[in-house]
């Protein structure tokens, strides 16, 4: 265990402590205590960052399940450092913001912060793990905590719906990702990402390499809300706004981006990787921005803009991966520029989107609504909020002097690179990107001007709006300040964070040690990129002014065919089908259930006996059968036949006991006193039990069972008897293995017990016994609950 391991585990350890603090400290908002954790972690991780030189990768490994090749290995390089700084840094700000956002009296703060810490630990774990399976475990834990946080106000139907939807989509992607990881393991024999990168040539030879790539991408795309899996993110907006700012824009949805970046060295050289990521990213970018424009809920607008912006980052990562393709090795460093843009935009997006979400939260908090149609003219009432929103939105629109301008320009050079260096028809990519950017500009303008300018409508607001308290404004202020600082001093992070991150994403492209440095400058001269931005501003302003004329174009596709509709009807259909299947065999009749069990016994055991041709009859070893043994055997057979035909329940109980006592007599004859004793007592007690149950059973009715049913039961009964007899005889005849009995003979020296049976039960095979008593206990509790608590639920209704 090192300090870094502890850093991941500290948020988890804090989870049980938070409810205690909430319960016993009433004067202070729980958030103040919680804020200490991300703040400490931020300081810890920041100590790894140096302004002078990039971080040398740090590796710490703790064996966890070595036999399965699972090690809790932490790999901290610039790429992971970037993510942990975002997670902890924005974490501090979000917790600070939530202190003012979440009311201490009304909300279940202990759950809120416990889930939040669970998420933070999981997120740190997934970006720091080098072992794919550990990464997967943390990855799913982020989905779980996201589920809990979306459903935080679980009394709302929409919250539960959104939580379930996000869980379904991200977890099914997670499963497919696990499948991909397992294929990688099969191909390489290791779960370590570093070792996989070293073995990437060997891994790519495997026949399932391309399927593994798609399985893993499915996981990344579902998590990062890429088309067509983006539908969960707008519904996830039911979460409290600090959560939307943290999980659903700044950190968790970036996990897919992280995974794509982290695994690019393994897959990047393949065309499929480039095509899938670039095309998915472009579609997502386009659709996200198109849909964001028409939203009237501010949070939904931001959700679609998040989808679109992550699509943008994905597109850039896809284009950047060309650098690893051997066909373009001459121009590989050009394409690395796209990866720089991806990472830079990822940082910018986390910052300005976090800021914007917090601003929307403030608007919601102060005015009581997020509906654009009800808001307007707030510029005089909330001037600070206006300024902060303006900074965030202009940065998102890609306007100077905000950091978004820089990464947007780099994005344009990235997409233009494809048409300049690859085939000329790749010009489609910059065109789509450009159109999407126009829409991005439009929704940014909506965000500012529909809310803060125009007519002020106090009558349509639930409460009288006023400027937010200073505590709530601190976090977005810091983020907004960062947006401006990064514009003027982008090179503070260029050589120490961006450059080594890109080298970690595209290690093979830099293998020959060529000099390559990232330098971001504001002014490149009057080039195509700048012209594109100017075009966006002009066309975007026109579109914004005349937007009402274009509204109808959204009606072209009827809502019946939307992806959400497909998801909903798919869910209903699946429930119906599984209900049909279950109702088909779960009839509630115990004779029916028993017949299933017995039919399967006959088919599987008897069938394999027949198919393997395993039946052997070997009576040579048998001892002679004595007269009284015959006598006991025949009595047993006679008793069982009599039991079938008797009409009285009392008699059948007695006959069953007779059979049981004869079995114990057999144990006596074959010199097994332990078994005989046990069988005797079991018989006694079960007879008492039978009699008790008998008291409750209805009298044997005159109802005559249909002949058909009796015949099928007779066939099953004979089949079971036959199968078991044949198995018994075969077991007697076969000698496939050396019997284990020899080992138990030493019970006195090994276990100090003269009773071999008991030594087996409590020593040699004590694990079996332990589980057996657990099962026995579970059965007892089951019966207790069934009988004593069966009316408990009905009282509530």
């Amino acid at each position: 265990m090192t300090l870094l391991h502890m850093a991941i585990l500290i948020p988890f350890f804090s989870v049980p402590l938070i409810p205690l603090l909430y319960k016993y400290v009433h004067q202070i908002h729980t958030g103040w205590f919680v804020m200490v954790i991300p703040a400490l972690l931020l300081i810890l991780f920041a100590s790894y960052y140096s302004m002078q030189q990039p971080l040398d990768p740090v590796i710490y490994s703790v064996p966890w399940i070595p036999s399965l090749d699972i090690h809790f290995t932490i790999y901290l390089d610039s790429l992971s450092l970037l993510f942990v700084l975002l997670i902890t840094g924005i974490g501090v700000l979000v917790v600070l913001y939530s202190i003012y956002y979440m009311s201490m009296d009304r909300e279940k703060l202990h759950l809120f912060y416990a889930y939040l810490m669970l998420f933070m630990g999981a997120m740190l774990g997934s970006v720091l793990s080098d072992n794919l399976l550990v990464l997967y475990a943390f990855w799913e834990l982020t989905s779980v905590s996201s589920f809990l946080l979306i459903a935080f106000w679980y009394h709302r139907k929409r919250s539960r719906y959104g939580a379930q939807k996000s869980m379904f989509i991200t977890m099914s992607g997670g499963f497919s990702m696990l499948l991909g990881f397992i294929i990688l393991y099969v191909a390489s024999g290791t779960f370590s990402i570093r070792e996989l990168i070293a073995l990437s040539d060997q891994v790519s030879q495997h026949s399932l390499f391309i399927p593994a790539m798609f399985f893993i991408l499915l996981g990344a795309f579902t998590k990062s809300a890429q088309f067509p899996f983006h539908i969960w993110l707008p519904d996830a907006m039911e979460a409290p706004t600090p959560i939307s700012a943290y999980l659903h824009s700044a950190t968790m949805v970036k996990a897919g981006v992280y995974l794509v970046a982290r695994l690019t060295p393994i897959f990047g050289g393949h065309q499929e990787w480039f095509w899938t990521i670039t095309i998915t990213g472009l579609i997502t970018l386009f659709i996200g921005s198109l849909k964001a424009v028409r939203q009237s809920d501010l949070k939904a607008l931001l959700a679609f803009s998040t989808i679109s912006q992550i699509g943008l980052i994905m597109t850039l990562l896809g284009i950047g991966s060309i650098a690893l393709n051997s066909q373009y090795s001459g121009s590989s460093l050009l394409f690395a520029g796209a990866t720089v843009a991806a990472i830079f935009h990822l940082i910018n997006h986390s910052i300005f989107k976090g800021c914007l979400f917090m601003m929307i939260g403030i608007l919601d908090h102060e005015t009581g609504t997020r509906d654009i149609r009800r808001l307007g003219g707030l510029i005089h009432i909330m001037p600070v909020s206006f300024t902060l929103t303006l900074i965030g939105a202009f940065s998102m629109a890609g306007l100077p002097p905000f950091s978004g301008f820089l990464s947007k320009e780099m994005f344009f050079s990235g997409v233009l690179m494809t048409s300049r260096n690859l085939d000329s028809w790749f010009i489609v990519i910059p065109i789509i990107a450009w159109i999407a950017s126009i829409f991005t500009f439009v929704y940014c303008m909506i965000l500012i001007f529909k809310v803060f300018t125009g007519p002020y409508q106090p009558k349509r607001l639930d409460r009288k709006p006023h400027e937010a308290p200073i505590g709530m404004l601190i976090s977005p202020m810091i983020l907004a300040a960062l947006v401006v600082i990064l514009f003027f001093f982008p090179n503070w992070i260029a050589s120490t964070l961006l450059e080594p991150s890109v080298k970690a994403i595209l290690p093979q492209a830099f293998a020959n040690g060529e000099e390559w440095h990232v330098h971001i400058s504001v002014w490149h001269g009057l080039n195509t990129e700048l012209l594109m931005t100017i075009g966006i501003v002009i066309l975007g302003t026109l579109l914004y002014k005349n937007f009402h004329k274009f509204r109808n174009m959204y009606e072209i596709i009827p809502s019946r065919f939307s992806l959400n509709q497909a998801y909903d009807s798919g869910l209903v259909g699946m429930e119906r089908i599984s209900g049909m299947i279950t109702r088909f065999y779960m009839t509630g009749s115990s004779p029916r259930y028993l017949s299933y069990l017995f039919v399967f016994l006959i088919v599987i055991v008897g069938g394999s006996l027949f198919l393997q041709d395993a039946f052997v009859l070997d009576l040579s070893d048998n001892a002679p059968i004595e007269l009284y043994e015959y006598l006991l055997g025949f009595t047993m057979v006679a008793a069982s036949i009599y039991m079938i035909f008797t009409k009285s329940r009392l008699i059948s109980i007695i006959v069953v006991s007779v059979i049981g006592y004869i079995v114990s007599l057999f144990f006596v004859i074959f010199r097994a006193p332990d078994l005989a004793l046990t069988q005797l007592v079991v018989e006694t007690i079960s007879t008492a039990l039978f009699l008790l149950c008998f008291y409750f059973l209805p009298k044997v009715s005159k109802y005559v069972t249909p002949v058909k049913f009796r015949i099928s039961n007779a066939i099953i009964a004979v089949g079971v008897g036959l199968t078991l007899t044949l198995i018994g005889l075969t077991a007697q005849g076969h000698h496939l293995f050396v019997p284990i009995a020899e080992y138990y003979k030493d019970s006195y020296t090994l276990a100090g017990a003269k009773n071999m049976v008991n030594a087996i039960l409590v020593d040699f095979r004590a694990f079996d016994t332990m589980l057996e008593i657990v099962v026995l206990f579970a059965a007892g509790v089951g019966i207790y609950t069934l009988i004593n608590l069966r009316h408990a639920g009905r009282k509530d209704q």
Binding site: C693, N758, F767, I773, G780
Partner: protein, 141 residues
């Protein structure tokens, strides 16, 4: 259902003690002779069932105020904890051990950790059996 059978009641009062003593003997004898926790538990249960049949549920509950559900849970816990004790000696889960000790009155006696494990089995068996039987017999239609 209450019987007022004097013969049954009188003989039960004596028999129960004999059966109980025998069951505890069986529990500890199991290490070297036929017996063990499972059989011991069942015999104790049968003594208790005999009590229930002779007297009514409420009377028996007053005499033996034991929550059988808790007894069963306790048994499982005893068994599992006996298993985890082996971790203290860096040996695999459920490794049992035994030693010979000179005890007053009993002389040279073997003490085996397996017997504690068996005690857990004994408790679980009694607890579960009696939970099931009392649940069913208490149930009203």
């Amino acid at each position: 259902m209450k019987f007022t059978d004097v013969f049954l009641q009188t003989s039960t009062k004596i028999l129960v003690f004999i059966i109980m003593t025998f069951s505890i003997f069986i529990l500890f004898a199991g290490h070297h002779n036929p017996g063990g926790g499972f059989i011991g538990g069942l015999i104790t249960s049968s003594a208790l069932v005999l009590l229930y049949i002779t007297f009514d549920l409420q009377t028996v509950r007053d005499i033996i105020p034991v929550d059988f559900n808790q007894l069963a849970a306790g048994g499982v816990i005893v068994s599992v904890l006996t298993g985890t004790a082996s971790f203290l000696f860096h040996v695999p889960f459920l490794t049992q051990t035994f030693t010979y000790v000179d005890l007053p009155l009993l002389g040279n006696t073997e003490l085996a950790s397996a017997v504690i494990f068996d005690l857990g089995v004994y408790m679980t068996v009694i607890g579960t059996t009696m939970t099931i039987i009392t649940s069913i017999s208490e149930d009203e239609k």
